[in-house]
């Protein structure tokens, strides 16, 4: 399960960041921030590579010693970033995919909410709930 989940707007400012151990929050902000370059690189590489993969799921962005960072980009260029613990080796690619899927579904619901202003930070409780379900339960 994830230790940090972030939603980044088209203009690369955070719409939503949630991480598990609150004392390390800044570190996760940093990790997510640095991952944006990799996302940018993956998006712009489309068309140049032979294998024309234009999937929304971008796969593993980069591994660090402690964490693995996964990325996903919607057609509206909103990025989702999920950070998971490296020690959690049982987590398969498919599970990450389905997490992004769930996140995306919930995000579209937020976007279609007429009371939500596109581009504002996400404050939806339903979205919060979905994210909580995907986070590591720390107690």
């Amino acid at each position: 399960m994830a230790v940090c989940i972030a939603v980044i707007a088209k203009e690369n400012y955070p719409l939503y960041i949630r991480s598990v151990p609150t004392q390390n929050e800044l570190k996760f902000h940093y990790t997510v921030h640095t991952s944006l370059d990799v996302v940018e690189e993956k998006i712009s590489a489309v068309g140049k590579s032979i294998g024309d993969q234009r999937e929304l799921y971008l796969g593993l962005l980069y591994p660090t010693e402690d964490y693995k960072v996964y990325g996903y980009v919607t057609n509206s260029k909103v990025k989702f970033v999920i950070v998971v613990d490296s020690s959690n080796t049982s987590l398969r690619d498919n599970e990450i995919r389905s997490m992004f899927r769930k996140l995306h579904n919930s995000f579209t619901d937020v976007m279609c909410n007429p009371f939500h202003n596109p581009g504002d930070p996400i404050q939806s409780k339903a979205f919060d709930g979905i994210v909580s379900g995907m986070m590591v339960q720390s107690s």
């Binding site: 088209k10 998006i43 489309v46 068309g47 234009r54 999937e55 929304l56 980009v73 919607t74 057609n75 509206s76 260029k77 995306h104 579904n105 995000f107 579209t108 976007m111 279609c112 909410n113 007429p114 596109p118």
Partner: protein, 158 residues
């Protein structure tokens, strides 16, 4: 299909509401049009977010326009655009020979002066859809003979 009638009714009621709520309605036509357009913009944005959830990322502008003409139009108006033309320099003309929202008005030229308010929402819809995919544009519509109409999309390069 059963789900198109409510949309049509809601749309005409929307126009009615906008034009009623403004006192001295006739003097402020431009503002009403803008209001309708802005409403369409927000709807288009949300709708596109939902429609593109399961599609692959778009290659280029033309790819986006094709999506609007086929999937988007089918979703909203239950038919595809009849003709898409482009000059490959950022201008696209979308022609619909039997535009659904004009269907309830009598065909021909009799009520042509009322056409703009029935098209404003759709203009906003297209602009919102494009904007959510990161394409800034100006969308205008014209109707020469009633059920047919043309949308002109001008892409803003910046």
């Amino acid at each position: 299909m059963a789900d198109e009638a409510p949309f049509q009714l809601l749309h005409s009621e929307l126009i009615h509401y906008i034009y009623q709520s403004e006192h001295g309605a006739d003097t402020d036509n431009a503002r009403n049009i803008t209001k309708l357009e802005a409403m369409g913009f927000r709807v288009g944005q949300g709708l596109m977010e939902r429609l593109t959830k399961d599609t692959a990322r778009f290659k280029d502008e033309l790819d986006v326009m094709k999506f609007i003409c086929k999937d988007f139009w089918t979703c909203v108006f239950k038919k595809q655009i009849d003709n898409l033309r482009t000059n490959h320099q950022g201008i696209y003309v979308l022609q619909d020979n039997k535009f659904r929202l004009l269907g309830s008005l009598s065909a021909g030229k009799q009520y042509l002066e009322h056409a703009p308010k029935f098209l404003a929402f759709s203009c906003g819809l297209v602009r919102g859809a494009l904007c959510s995919l990161g394409v800034r544009s100006i969308v205008t519509a014209e109707a020469a003979v009633m059920p047919a109409c043309k949308f002109q999309v001008m892409i803003q390069k910046s």
